[in-house]
């Protein structure tokens, strides 16, 4: 057998049932990615005799004697294919995990296909961009600002530093590395929603050739923890064990097999005999607190930070300002309704997983797909009682996160397996495992009551939230608290009341998800504002203007918070409302639609604290190199959020140099310092502030060093174009580095940010929709979002974050839906049954930025990564209500869900 890959013959032969994708990766072609392994996402696209195919579906033996081209070979030796260059010029990627497949597909399209990208690209999913930047690439647009002079990088549309590697398939993601002697882990998962493990017989499994170990609850530390990672451990309950003797959802891990191959590990999993004592299961969150309901964590107490385990209550909150009931009784208009936000999945294209090994010094190394390497190291250190310096956790490039990787789902098992076997180990979750056994958004039932006076001033706002956290309480409390915070704090209202309950059920756990609870309550609050406005005959934008907090107004949500560090570092909500209102009123092409299509507009707003509460820490270190460039070390991770670009811009601007002179090292605990992690939109606002502080310090140090050499007053020194200047004297950074080396005083500086005080950011979304009253189909005719991101660090990237947020939120609002049946099983754990937005599903969104400058954020910037998601479902619901006169309260707004009410009303 002989296989020709990128012009090079390989003598290796694939296994009988092996697919081309894994065979190519075994041959070192790491540009071939796994998004779904089922032919649905296109990340594994390669060319076979010049034709694009999904390599995960091609039996490897069929590629024999055919020319295989992967992304690494598309441009020829050291070359760049025009489509690769086009993706670079347009910056048609964020995390870049889909990019290889996207480029190979786009490079294969004929002219006819290029004019209908919605059809041509239906086999390529991008979870990050919202597709506009990809379309730009196919159109040959250049979105990059060229030739930015030294010291002027901040605020400019500079490209992502990893771009050249991303488009050539050379950027290294979690599994893109070779390790000799690697063993593979497969997990046996529970088929029962609730059961006690009476006995596990592993003897048959251990007899499978190639099996090194079978790990069960008897092998794992019995320490209680949470998979959620926060700076403060007290934010989450201790209710989870690495491997437990009770299973609480279908898909929970029961045992881990460590074997020479995935095939052997799978076979051993099938041979493990588990004796379960089935326990009654609780699936419906509405029943969780009812008398007689099965108790899911009976042994947990408040000492474990579980509010009331006997009622399946992880966390609750209650509070009232004023008197809501009295206010509602006397309000000119009132509104009351119940909204249901469903369960959706992050669907980052790179699945969870990692590799772990013990190095020569005996330290545990974990290379993993995470947003929180430092917090994961701390957890592993605690659980396995290892000194912090004996644990290293790191990531290179991560293929998407969206909150799903602010958890420890695999690193604990990886560590356990590496420590038990002494061998390097790998665990790579399948797409199905992502759906059934990682985390989801918290499904919520939100009951709202609201009132206003005749002038349209809010008189009362009341929210009653039931949040379903699933089998474990990771993020249960913080998500519930967050959902009840900014969603109502953004409105001035004398009477506010909240009741929140986060309950356990025997279903896949919910966890951190972009928006962190706000989208689920926002849809209710923003609907109520519109409904009150409609009753009063006030326009939706005016209603909001009359009620939103203005600069200096207290931002209040009961009960009183213990955190008082949220300030108006800047305020652009008024601008955002104006921008969206104006854009929605602007003349545009009128679509030709039959009278069956009902047209309506909707807006919704969101406010978000720029940092999570209770501390978010980042350290940064920057050092001058001999060549006059700088090494910048940060802890925050890059998963398409674009912070790598922004950190270089901050440092280059502060140090009067260009971004290419800043070499970034990131997301590795071995680099020292601490970083809470890339979550809560902290990559720019917190970690960027640390980088800014480090660069400011180094800028001072550079001036002091030059002043010392010149024997002049440091106050006369400035930095200009990679040079220290004082009067007519000039010393280049390279000369300064030489001087420092001769003096034995290397020029390095540290910066730190504690994540406090915090500021607030704003987003306003507007939609014009057409709803077909005969079919329930929905078309988005116009989509507008205005964002208040402070001084925008990188307009191109920030626009991409907004567009991507809108696209992901439209997925949840229109299509995506995890269905859990009466037994607790996820019935649609694959992309073909969980419709992620494809090119054809996502409208172009006009993006506007408010002109503000934040007094707290670095160089005036604010965070802008999760919040663009938050107002989207709410605005869509308002637009549908405007079009149809029907208030739909439970997304996703699919045709088959809209149809019954439309049919009833319109026939």
């Amino acid at each position: 057998m002989s296989f020709e890959v990128n012009g090079t013959p390989f003598p290796q032969a694939p296994r009988a049932g092996q697919c081309l994708r894994t065979f190519l990766r075994e041959l070192g072609q790491f540009g071939v990615k796994k998004g779904c392994d089922a032919g649905d996402c296109g990340a594994c696209t390669v060319l076979l005799d010049g034709e694009p195919v999904h390599s995960c579906l091609i039996p490897a033996f069929r590629a024999e004697g055919r020319a295989i081209t992967t992304i690494e070979g598309l441009g020829g030796e050291h070359g760049t294919h025009p489509m690769q260059q086009a993706f670079l010029d347009a910056q048609g990627f964020q995390c870049g995990f889909c990019t290889a497949g996207m480029i190979l597909t786009c490079a294969s399209l004929n002219q006819a296909q290029r004019t209908d990208l919605g059809t041509a690209l239906k086999g390529n999913i991008c979870r990050c961009t919202g597709y506009r930047a990809i379309e730009d690439a196919t159109l040959g647009k250049n979105n990059i600002e060229e030739s930015v002079e030294a010291g002027a990088a901040f605020g400019r549309s500079l490209p992502a530093p990893a771009g050249p590697d991303v488009v050539r398939g050379k950027a290294r993601y979690t599994f893109d590395t070779e390790i000799d002697g690697l063993l593979h882990i497969k997990l046996l998962r529970s088929p029962h929603a609730h059961a006690k493990i009476v006995a596990i017989d592993t003897s048959d499994a251990l007899r499978v050739p190639g099996v090194h170990a079978v790990l069960t609850h008897q092998d794992a530390p019995s320490v209680l923890m949470s998979t959620a990672r926060h700076e403060k451990d007290w934010m989450d309950p201790e209710d989870t064990r690495i491997l437990d003797d009770v299973v609480r959802f279908i898909g929970q891990k029961v045992a881990a097999v460590v074997a020479e191959s995935e095939g052997a590990a799978e076979e051993a999993c099938r041979r493990i005999k588990v004796d379960y004592e089935i326990l009654p299961a609780l699936i419906d969150p509405e029943m969780a607190m009812a008398p007689g309901a099965p108790i899911i964590h009976p042994d947990r107490t408040t000492a474990n930070r579980v509010a009331d385990a006997q009622r399946n209550l992880v966390a609750e909150t209650h509070g009232e300002y004023g008197d809501v009931a009295a206010a509602l009784a006397t309000s000119a208009v009132t509104y009351e309704a119940t909204f249901h936000s469903h369960r959706v999945q992050h669907a980052a294209l790179e699945t969870h997983g990692g590799l772990a090994w013990l190095d020569e010094a005996g330290a545990l190394n974990v290379r993993t797909s995470t947003q929180v390497p430092f917090l994961t190291r701390r957890a592993l250190s605690d659980i396995f009682q290892l000194p912090m310096d004996k644990v290293r956790v790191f990531c290179e490039r991560v293929g998407g996160g969206f909150g799903g990787k602010q958890e420890m789902f695999v690193e604990d098992i990886l560590a356990l397996a590496a420590l038990k076997t002494g061998r390097p180990v790998k665990l790579e979750l399948t797409r199905e495992e992502q759906f059934i056994a990682t985390s989801t958004r918290h499904p919520m039932r939100v009951h709202i009551k609201a009132g206003a006076d005749a002038e349209g001033k809010l008189t009362a706002l009341q929210l009653d939230v039931l949040s379903n956290t699933g089998a474990y309480g990771n993020h249960a409390g913080p998500v519930m608290f967050h959902s009840l915070s900014e969603s109502i704090a953004v409105y001035n209202c004398p009477n506010k009341k909240v009741d929140g309950f986060a309950v356990y059920t025997n279903t896949v756990p919910a966890g951190a998800f972009r928006g962190y609870g706000l989208p689920q309550t926002q849809i209710a609050v923003e609907a109520a504002i519109d409904e009150l406005a409609t009753q009063l005959g006030i326009s939706p934008c005016d209603m909001r203007r009359r009620n939103v907090v203005k600069l200096g107004d207290p931002m209040l949500s009961p009960p009183p918070s213990e955190f008082h560090d949220v300030l108006y570092g800047s305020y652009g909500l008024d601008q955002c409302l104006d921008l969206v209102e104006r854009a929605m009123q602007a003349d545009g092409p009128q679509p030709e639609l039959s009278p069956e299509w009902l047209i309506g507009d909707g807006v919704a707003l969101t406010m978000i604290d720029t940092v999570p509460p209770a501390g978010h820490i980042a350290d940064a270190m920057i050092a001058l190199n001999d060549d006059g460039g700088f090494d910048l070390t940060v802890g925050t991770a890059e998963f398409g959020n674009g912070t790598s670009t922004v950190h270089r811009q901050i440092a280059a601007t502060t140090l009067a140099t260009t971004v290419d002179r800043i070499r970034l090292r990131q997301s590795d605990t071995a680099h020292g310092g601490h970083d809470t992690g890339a979550y809560g939109s902290a990559g720019t606002f917190v970690a960027g502030k640390a980088t800014h502080a480090a660069a400011m310090q180094l800028a001072t140090d550079l001036k002091v060093a030059a002043a010392d050499a010149w024997l002049c007053d440091v106050g006369t020194c400035t930095l200009e174009r990679e040079t220290v200047v004082s009067g007519v004297r000039r010393m280049s950074f390279g000369e300064l580095a030489k001087l420092a080396r001769e003096r034995g005083q290397p020029l390095t500086a540290n910066g730190n940010s504690g994540g406090t005080p915090r500021s607030v950011g704003f987003n306003v979304q507007g939609f014009r929709v057409a709803v077909n009253k005969g079919t329930g189909e929905l078309r988005i005719l116009k989509s507008v979002q205005a964002a208040d991101a402070g001084v925008v660090a990188n307009p191109m990237q920030c626009r991409g974050q907004v567009e991507g947020g809108v696209a992901q939120a439209l997925g949840a609002a229109l299509y995506e839906e995890m269905v859990i049946d009466a037994t607790g099983r996820v019935t649609n754990p694959k992309f073909r049954d969980y419709h992620l937005p494809s090119f054809a599903d996502v409208p172009r969104t006009e993006v506007f930025f408010a002109e503000t400058s934040d007094t707290i954020g670095p160089l005036g910037a604010k965070s802008m990564s999760e919040s663009p998601y938050n107002p989207v479902a709410a605005a869509l619901g308002n637009a549908i209500a405007d079009a149809t006169g029907i208030r739909f309260t439970a997304p996703p707004f699919k045709p088959d869900r809209l149809f019954p009410a439309l049919h009833e009303k319109f026939g």
């Binding site: 296994r15 009988a16 049932g17 092996q18 697919c19 994708r21 894994t22 392994d37 089922a38 032919g39 649905d40 296109g42 034709e51 694009p52 195919v53 999904h54 995960c56 579906l57 091609i58 039996p59 033996f61 069929r62 296909q113 919605g118 059809t119 041509a120 239906k122 086999g123 390529n124 191959s261 995935e262 095939g263 799978e266 076979e267 099938r270 399948t430 005969g774 079919t775 329930g776 189909e777 229109l814 299509y815 839906e817 269905v819 019935t827 649609n828 073909r832 049954d833 969980y834 419709h835 494809s838 054809a840 599903d841 699919k894 045709p895 088959d896 869900r897 149809f899 019954p900 049919h903």
Partner: protein, 275 residues
């Protein structure tokens, strides 16, 4: 994905070479479904490629589509000008949830064997009066109209070891005027209702309902029905339990879309303006 339990792939070149069917065997045509899901019960793949069945053969009476004909090959067929039904081929290929990249590999026979309600090759071949030829496991052949071959959601008349050899479509039906409608929950999503109407020279109207129902259903009218007659016929012949339900569409909606699309087809074929 890797099928790690597979230990052997056999490559028969003739029917005589076909190995005796045993538990753990699977036919491998395109493999686009087989390799898309875990198949831990399988140990051997029997690759049909080397049988080298001609993908498409046109005779005076029939278009013969080999089971191993890929969707792309069918889509690329240059049809004679008097095959008025030719546009249906492209319309049905485009109704695939999968993209053009999968069409190069996925086969017509594979789509029939999967017997999903939304299988567009089922829609196409049943609407065109296609007849499957089945090589029976024990030897011999059997012919079954496609409309009867699929019996329910992922259910059909094949017994273990049976193999679809080809689907024969009469040239006469390819000369009929046809109309095509489908709808999905998303612009390029999986079909939730896919209806095909055809009108022959004698005025006979045939309506084939797929995707919205668990199996293809054929309604025939010796002369063109009025709207109410069409509605009544659908209500009578497609009872509520025949409407399919899954994540891709609720049955009540599928039912109404079936009625709606059927009327659009009737109007189009009878020359009226479609609503």
């Amino acid at each position: 994905m890797d099928l790690n339990t597979i230990t052997t792939v056999s490559h028969p070149q003739t029917r005589c070479d076909l190995p005796a069917w045993t538990a753990g065997d699977a036919w491998l045509a395109g493999g686009t479904w087989l390799f898309s899901e875990p198949q831990a019960h399988l140990t051997r793949l029997i690759d049909l490629t080397d049988l080298k069945w001609p993908a498409l053969t046109i005779t005076e009476t029939h278009l013969s589509v080999a089971a191993t004909c890929t969707v792309a090959q069918l889509d690329g067929l240059a049809c004679p000008p008097d095959w008025l039904a030719a546009p249906l081929i492209g319309q049905c290929c485009r109704a695939f949830l999968a993209s053009f990249k999968i069409w190069k590999t996925a086969t017509v026979g594979g789509n029939l064997c999967m017997s999903l309600p939304a299988g567009p090759m089922i829609s196409l071949t049943s609407a065109l009066d296609g007849v499957c030829t089945i090589w029976k496991a024990g030897g011999g052949e059997q012919t079954i109209p496609v409309i009867n071959f699929v019996t329910g959601d992922q259910r059909n008349l094949l017994t273990p070891g049976d193999l679809i050899r080809q689907i024969d479509i009469p040239v006469a039906t390819l000369k009929r005027r046809t109309a095509f409608r489908h709808i999905s929950l998303a612009p390029v999503g999986r079909s939730a209702a896919l209806l095909i109407g055809s009108l022959d020279a004698d005025g006979m109207l045939a309506l084939t309902v797929t995707a919205s129902t668990v199996r293809p259903i054929r309604l025939s009218f010796s002369k063109a029905p009025v709207a109410s007659a069409l509605r009544d016929a659908i209500a009578q012949q497609i009872t509520d339990e025949l409407y399919h339900t899954d994540i891709h569409g609720k049955p009540l909606w599928r039912k109404h879309m079936t009625l709606r699309l059927a009327e659009e087809i009737r109007s189009e074929l009878l020359g009226a303006r479609s609503s």
